[in-house]
């Protein structure tokens, strides 16, 4: 049928739905739903890791294969450093920029190396906002409890307390740098309610929160003249004779040469894994989200946490085909947008946590109440026009300009017509285990941002990631910088690789791939 004809049911049922209040699931119902429909519980997608720090723990096949992959680097590699620095930051997203700026501010010599251009990352795409407990009726403790509940009580308490306590100071830092957060009439920060949160707590810059923060941080990195190495992908870390981190090897993606950087500490801020397309899911992530930091740390002996759980964002675009996987911001649901199945019914409280909402969408679709596209995709409606009905004409345009433009390019006016959505692979809930200074169990190896793990438990609450980046970017930067003055540059070796390869041999063998992946293989090889 014509898409407009199919959309009629959404328009027709709108008034009736507006009167309806949907309760959240009871804890028991919610567990049952998730176990039945959430992709994290699809046993066939998982296998145990055969060796290394997380031996015998299960993760998705795609990641296990990369963790057990071999390095590009061989023992005879020339380790004469091309650069020497105090702090080497790897990754040019939010966590990397925050780490570099704080380390630089603390007086260290800093180099920031990244795979694409500075800022090409997941961070630029964050639309929904950043959770910080600034409202009078809110508190860091409430933020802590909401997050814990969202993470199914698996969050690391120390990391979480650190994040919520440091939050307000981060907001101040960003405002002083010129970030334009939305305000209330009285000049205070405007806060929105996010899924899974008991209090309005999301700071926003219309629906360009990540873009606005990244424009400012990138500009600041350039203004502070921090040394940059763009289009260079980290392909191996370096260790000294005691197994402590002492630098990294990059591959320059322009001329394919290796670049060796000696550093007193390394901060890995390489982000997530969406481009591994786990279980065949489309993704909202940027081009370079290939889990490189996990592989690099793992070979150094760093332990990973919660790497069996991923976040499938409830609203990835399904139509038009060109936008498949791209995010339809959660802000729509925060402002009251309904999820509607093919029969015109709501089926979940839209403000429940992401895992619950995603699971219920998958349930609707598997039980035949989805809408299908001819390319074989399926989804449910997100009633975007409802926002204009509820809050006055122009609401969608004013609050969601980015999303309006995204669909408008394909001739779809989201203020008039609902959009079709299905869960998209969005976020890696776990990552490299860190302490409250963002350091791993490998000395002088820090991991900050999405690549790290423990903080979010088994499900990240919306808006907590942007705060995570800033808080642990800052802490890693300050700790690494503070250490630099009183320590010597460690020796440059790849002894950890010899250990890793020997360990692999003992337990079978390395998988047949080279890791990290660096970029997904989208280029068609033959016609």
């Amino acid at each position: 049928m014509d898409i407009h004809a199919l959309q009629q049911i959404v328009h027709k049922t709108r008034d009736a739905r507006r009167k309806q209040a949907l309760p959240k699931f009871s804890p028991a119902d919610r567990d049952q739903l998730i176990h039945k429909y959430h992709p994290d519980y699809r046993a066939s997608a998982y296998r145990p890791i055969r060796f290394g720090p997380n031996i015998d723990e299960k993760t998705v096949v795609e990641l296990a294969t990369l963790l057990e992959g071999d390095s590009l680097i061989q023992d005879d590699v020339d380790l004469t450093p091309d650069y020497t620095t105090d702090v080497l930051v790897i990754g040019g997203g939010g966590a990397g920029c925050a780490a570099a700026l704080h380390a630089h501010g603390a007086g260290a010599k800093v180099m920031l190396a990244t795979k694409l251009r500075l800022g090409d990352s997941n961070s630029v795409m964050a639309q929904g906002g950043m959770q910080i407990s600034v409202a009078p009726e809110d508190s860091p403790v409430t933020h802590f409890l909401d997050t814990l509940k969202g993470g199914h009580m698996h969050n690391d308490h120390d990391l979480l307390k650190t994040m919520v306590d440091d939050g307000p100071a981060i907001a101040k830092w960003l405002i002083d740098l010129g970030v334009l957060f939305d305000r209330q009439a009285d000049g205070n920060l405007h806060v929105k309610k996010g899924g899974g949160s008991s209090k309005p707590r999301l700071l926003t810059c219309s629906d360009y929160t990540g873009l606005e923060i990244m424009r400012v941080l990138k500009d600041e990195v350039l203004n502070q003249k921090i040394q940059l190495l763009e289009f260079c992908a980290a392909v191996e870390l370096l260790s000294d004779e005691n197994g402590q981190c002492s630098g990294a090897i990059f591959k320059d993606l322009d001329n394919h040469r290796y670049v060796v950087v000696a550093a007193k500490s390394v901060i890995l801020a390489t982000g997530g894994i969406g481009r591994l397309h786990i279980q065949g899911f489309p993704t909202s992530n940027h081009y370079g989200a290939t889990g490189d930091g996990l592989c690099l740390s793992y070979r150094m002996g760093a332990k990973l946490a919660h790497i069996d759980t991923f976040q499938y964002h409830p609203s990835g675009a399904v139509f038009p085909e060109q936008l498949v996987g791209q995010l339809v911001t959660e802000g729509i649901r925060s402002e009251g947008g309904h999820l509607v199945n093919a029969k015109g019914e709501r089926f979940v409280n839209e403000l429940d946590t992401r895992d619950v909402v995603s699971s219920s969408i998958i349930r609707e679709c598997e039980e035949g109440r989805g809408i299908r596209t001819m390319s074989g995709r399926v989804g449910v409606w997100l009633d975007t026009p409802l926002l204009d009905v509820e809050h006055g004409p122009g609401t969608v345009e004013k609050h969601f300009p980015a999303m309006l433009m995204q669909f408008d390019r394909f001739g779809i006016d989201i203020s008039k017509d609902p959009v079709l959505i299905y869960p998209t692979l969005h976020y890696q809930n776990g990552g490299v285990k860190i302490d409250t200074n963002s350091e791993t169990n490998v000395k002088n190896l820090f991991v900050a941002g999405e690549a790290s793990g423990g903080l979010h438990g088994r499900n990240r609450l919306m808006g907590n990631s942007l705060l995570d980046l800033m808080v642990f970017g800052k802490r890693s930067g300050l700790t690494a910088a503070g250490r630099a003055g009183s320590m010597k540059q460690g020796k440059l070796t790849v002894q950890h690789l010899q250990r890793f390869r020997a360990d692999a041999k003992k337990h079978g063998n390395l998988s047949n791939v080279i890791s990290p992946m660096v970029l997904p293989a989208y280029t068609r090889k033959e016609s």
Binding site: N122, R183, E220, D254, Q322
Partner: protein, 246 residues
């Protein structure tokens, strides 16, 4: 019934809840030109996918793949139309007869400054970007902007000190830089706007008082008792407590 070309089931006839997409049922190859070379690609895929489809390795020219980073700034022309337009390659579908080229990095000059210690940001604009007031009103920048920002107007507003309007107008700016090579006055409007927006945020926007209060509360330990209580709970108590938070 399986469709002969796509291998997909012809669901339209069996299921009323299927969106009509003739282009999926009858995929059509279209001829396009990439940097002057002809290729055939499936109609409707994005410009960036057309690069992958034709076997090209993409390193420069792709970033977020979501329309936010500006890495994929592209010039294109449609069939028989002399007008060269701009787009974000990750957000644009190819059509028959289209020709395109990804924009190479353009060496625009970015001024450096310490935003926090500026004394007179509106005056400083003229020291940092002395070319800004020399705009010749050609409007090429506005026409080049894939985000539909009225860039020319923004440059004038900046020069006249209306920093607030500039910061609002350029909230959509993805820093693709396509407004820059076209400028006959060698202005980089996006960089001017970035400076202006940051100055607006750092110097001309009221400081949120509630935020300072909260920071002080945390420093003064106002939540310490609550923290002590919460952190002393065992797993079960904590779960029960979480359930009471509404």
């Amino acid at each position: 019934m399986l469709h002969p070309l796509t291998g997909l089931r012809n669901m339209a006839q069996e299921d009323p809840n299927v969106i009509d997409q003739p282009e999926v049922m009858k995929p059509r190859m279209v001829s396009i030109e990439i940097s002057g070379k002809k290729y055939d690609v499936p109609e409707g895929i994005t410009v960036i996918k057309a690069l992958w489809y034709t076997g090209q390795e993409v390193v420069r020219g792709a970033g977020c793949l979501g329309g936010f980073c500006g890495a994929c700034a592209t010039y294109y022309r449609t069939k028989d139309d002399p007008k060269v337009r701009t787009c974000l390659a990750c957000q644009m579908a190819v059509q028959d007869g289209m020709s395109f080229t990804i924009m190479p990095p353009f060496p625009a000059r970015k001024a450096t400054y310490d935003i926090q210690t500026l004394k007179d940001p509106k005056q400083d604009l003229f020291n940092l970007y002395p070319e800004a007031p020399l705009c010749r009103n050609c409007n090429a920048c506005t026409e080049a902007c894939p985000q539909k920002i009225d860039v020319r107007e923004g440059v004038w507003k900046a020069v006249f000190g209306d920093f607030k309007s500039v910061s609002e107008m350029f909230m959509d700016c993805v820093m693709c830089g396509m407004c820059t090579p076209v400028c006959i006055a060698d202005i980089a409007p996006n960089l001017v706007a970035l400076y202006v927006s940051r100055a607006q945020g750092a110097h001309f926007t009221e400081k949120p008082l509630g935020l300072d209060v909260r920071i002080k509360e945390i420093q003064d330990g106002r939540f310490n008792d609550e923290w002590k209580k919460v952190l002393a709970m065992n797993e079960k108590e904590l779960a029960d407590h979480c359930a009471t938070v509404k």
